[in-house]
C-alpha cells in the first residue's frame, strides 16, 4: 500500500506540478489564447458532461473503433497471406512501400470523391491510415518465424491450418502488436483530421469550429478531451497486449534477469 502510494507519487509529481503551474499561472490571465485553466475546466464540465460527449465524442469514437477494427482485420489478414506467399510478397513490396510513403491524409481528397464527406469516408480514412503499420509488421512477423519451427511443423505432420493458428500467428504476435500500437495512435490522428474537413460533427470538428468562433476556452477543453481519449486508448491497448502476449512479456523479463 505504502509502496503503491510512493509509486504514484514518484511518477505523478511532475504532472501535478505542471497542472498547478498552469492553474495558478493562468488564474488571472486576460489573454484570449490562454484562458485560465479554471475556466477551461468549467467549460469542460458544461460541454463534455455530457452534451458534446454524446453528440461529438461518441460518434468520433464509434468511427475510430470501426475503422481500427477494419485496419487490424485487413492488416493481419493480408499481411498473413503476403508473409506466407513469399514470391508474390516480393513483387508487391515495392508497391506497398511506395503507397505507404504517401501521407495518409493526402488521400482525403480522393476518398471524398468516392466516398463523400461523411461517415464512410472517415471510417475508410482511419482504417487505411492505421492499416499500414499493422500490415507491414504482420508481413515481417510472419516471415521471421523461426525456421526450426517450420521444420518441426513438417516433421510432425502438423496441418497447414493448425501451423498457421498455433505457430505462425503466435510467433508473429509481438510484431503484430507493435504495428497495431502505432496504427492506433495514427488512427486517432486520422480521426481528428478527417473531422476537420467535410460534414460537421465529431471532436475534430468541434475543436476547429471552436477556434474559428474564437471560443478558445472550448477549444482547449476539446484538446483535453483528446488527450484523455489517447491516454485511455493506449491504456486499453496495453491491457489487451498484456493478456495476449503475457508469455512474451514474461519470457523477456526472464531473459533480462538471466
Amino acid at each position: 500500500m505504502i509502496n503503491a502510494v510512493k509509486d504514484v507519487a514518484s511518477r505523478g509529481w511532475l504532472l501535478v506540478a505542471l497542472v498547478l503551474l498552469w492553474w495558478f499561472g493562468t488564474a488571472s490571465s486576460e489573454s484570449l489564447f490562454f484562458p485560465p485553466l479554471a475556466r477551461i475546466m468549467a467549460d469542460f464540465r458544461d460541454l463534455w458532461l455530457f452534451e458534446h460527449t454524446l453528440t461529438d465524442l461518441l460518434p468520433s469514437l464509434g468511427r475510430l473503433l470501426l475503422g481500427y477494427t477494419l485496419a487490424v482485420a485487413g492488416g493481419v489478414g493480408v499481411g498473413l497471406l503476403l508473409g506466407l506467399w513469399r514470391p508474390f510478397e516480393e513483387s508487391v513490396r515495392p508497391i506497398l512501400e511506395f503507397v505507404r510513403a504517401i501521407p495518409g491524409t493526402a488521400m482525403v481528397p480522393i476518398f471524398m470523391i468516392f466516398l463523400g464527406n461523411g461517415t464512410e469516408m472517415r471510417v475508410a480514412m482511419i482504417g487505411m491510415v492505421a492499416a499500414w503499420p499493422i500490415l507491414l509488421n504482420t508481413i515481417d512477423g510472419v516471415r521471421a518465424v523461426e525456421p526450426t519451427l517450420n521444420q518441426v511443423a513438417g516433421a510432425f505432420h502438423i496441418k497447414r491450418r493448425m501451423a498457421i493458428t498455433h505457430i505462425v500467428l503466435p510467433s508473429a504476435a509481438p510484431q503484430i502488436f507493435a504495428g497495431a500500437r502505432v496504427g492506433l495512435s495514427i488512427g486517432i490522428i486520422a480521426m481528428v483530421v478527417v473531422e476537420m474537413v467535410g460534414r460537421p460533427g465529431g471532436i475534430g470538428h468541434f475543436v476547429l469550429s471552436s477556434q474559428r468562433q474564437f471560443d478558445l476556452t472550448a477549444m482547449w477543453s476539446g484538446l483535453i478531451v483528446l488527450g484523455v481519449v489517447g491516454y485511455v486508448a493506449n491504456l486499453l491497448f496495453k491491457l489487451v497486449e498484456k493478456k495476449v502476449l503475457w508469455w512474451h512479456i514474461n519470457m523477456q523479463s526472464r531473459h533480462k534477469e538471466a
Binding site: L149, G154, F156, I158, M162, P170, A173, W247, M251
Partner: protein, 267 residues
C-alpha cells in the same frame, strides 16, 4: 520396391547410394548403410562434414540429389510415419507460447486425437523423460536440460519406431549432458526404439551407440561402420574407463583426422 524386401528390412532404415550437392558443391557422396529396428546408431563427423544434410535427407526434410532412403520399406519423401525428430536447439524448436503439455500434444492434436487420448499420451511421454507434473509450465520456465526433455517427450508422444536426434545435447552444460545421454539410453531400453544420433562429439557417439558411423572427407563418405562392443548397461564412469572405450574413440579420431579435416571443437 517394397515387394521383395525381407521382414527385417521392412522394419529398418535403408540408405542406398545417398549423395547430396548444393549446386556444384558436393557434400555427401555415395553413402549406403542400414539401421535395424531398435538399434542405437551414432553418426559422427567433424563440423561441416555434412551431418546435418545427412540428417535432413534421412528424415525427409531435404530431398537428396542422389540415391535414396527408405524407412519400413517405403521410400522417404517427407518425414515418414513412425519417425520423430529431436532438434538441436530446444530454444528454437519449442513454442514459448504453449505450455509443456501443449507443446508435446500439438502433433497429436493435428493428427486428430481427442482430448482424453491426447492427454494420456502426453502424460506418458512426460513421465518417460522424468517431467511428470510439469504439464502446465512453459518452456521458458524450465532449465535447458528440462526443455530438451520436453522436445524428447514430444518425439516420444508421437509413438515412433525411430527417433532421429540432431546434436541434441550441444547446447547444455556437461553435467546435464551426461544426464540426458543416460536418459536417452534408458528410454531406448524401455521402449525398444531405433535411435539415430548425429553428433560431432566422439565420446558421446561411442558411449551411447551400438554402432558408430564415421563420416569423413570432402565430400563426406562413410569412412567406417564400427560395431561398439561395450557392455550394457553403459555407465558414465565405468564404461568410459574401459580400455575398449579408449580404443574405439582413438580409432574414430584417427579416421576423422586421417581425412584431413580437424575434428570439430564443441560449438
Amino acid at each position: 520396391m517394397t515387394t521383395n524386401n525381407s521382414t527385417s528390412a521392412n522394419r529398418s532404415l535403408l540408405v542406398e547410394g545417398l549423395g547430396h550437392s548444393y549446386g556444384d558443391h558436393q557434400v555427401l557422396r555415395d553413402l549406403s548403410f542400414e539401421v535395424e529396428a531398435g538399434q542405437f546408431v551414432s553418426v559422427v563427423g567433424p563440423s561441416g562434414a555434412g551431418k546435418s544434410t545427412l540428417l535432413q535427407c534421412l528424415t525427409g526434410l531435404r530431398k537428396p540429389t542422389a540415391g535414396q532412403v527408405s524407412f519400413h520399406g517405403e521410400r522417404v519423401s517427407g518425414t515418414p510415419q513412425g519417425m520423430s525428430i529431436v532438434f538441436q536447439d530446444y530454444s528454437r524448436s519449442l513454442m514459448p507460447w504453449m505450455s509443456v503439455a501443449d507443446n508435446v500434444g500439438l502433433p497429436l492434436k493435428s493428427a486428430g486425437l481427442n482430448k482424453t487420448d491426447r492427454s494420456a499420451r502426453v502424460q506418458r511421454a512426460l513421465a518417460e523423460v522424468g517431467l511428470a507434473g510439469n504439464e502446465a509450465k512453459y518452456p521458458w520456465q524450465l532449465s535447458g536440460g528440462m526443455q530438451q526433455r520436453v522436445a524428447i517427450a514430444r518425439a516420444l508422444a508421437f509413438d515412433p519406431a525411430a527417433i532421429v536426434m540432431d546434436e541434441p545435447f550441444a547446447s547444455v552444460d556437461a553435467q546435464t549432458r551426461a544426464e540426458l545421454e543416460d536418459l536417452v539410453l534408458g528410454v531406448r531400453d524401455h521402449l525398444g526404439i531405433m535411435v539415430l544420433l548425429v553428433t560431432h562429439d566422439i565420446d558421446e557417439a561411442v558411449y551411447l551407440a551400438d554402432r558408430v558411423l564415421v563420416l569423413a572427407g570432402r565430400p563426406a563418405t562413410l569412412a567406417a561402420d564400427l560395431p561398439v562392443g561395450l557392455p550394457v548397461p553403459r555407465d558414465q564412469v565405468r564404461t568410459k574407463a574401459l580400455p575398449l572405450f579408449g580404443e574405439l574413440r582413438g580409432e574414430v579420431l584417427s579416421l576423422i583426422q586421417g581425412s584431413g579435416v580437424t575434428a570439430g571443437a564443441p560449438r
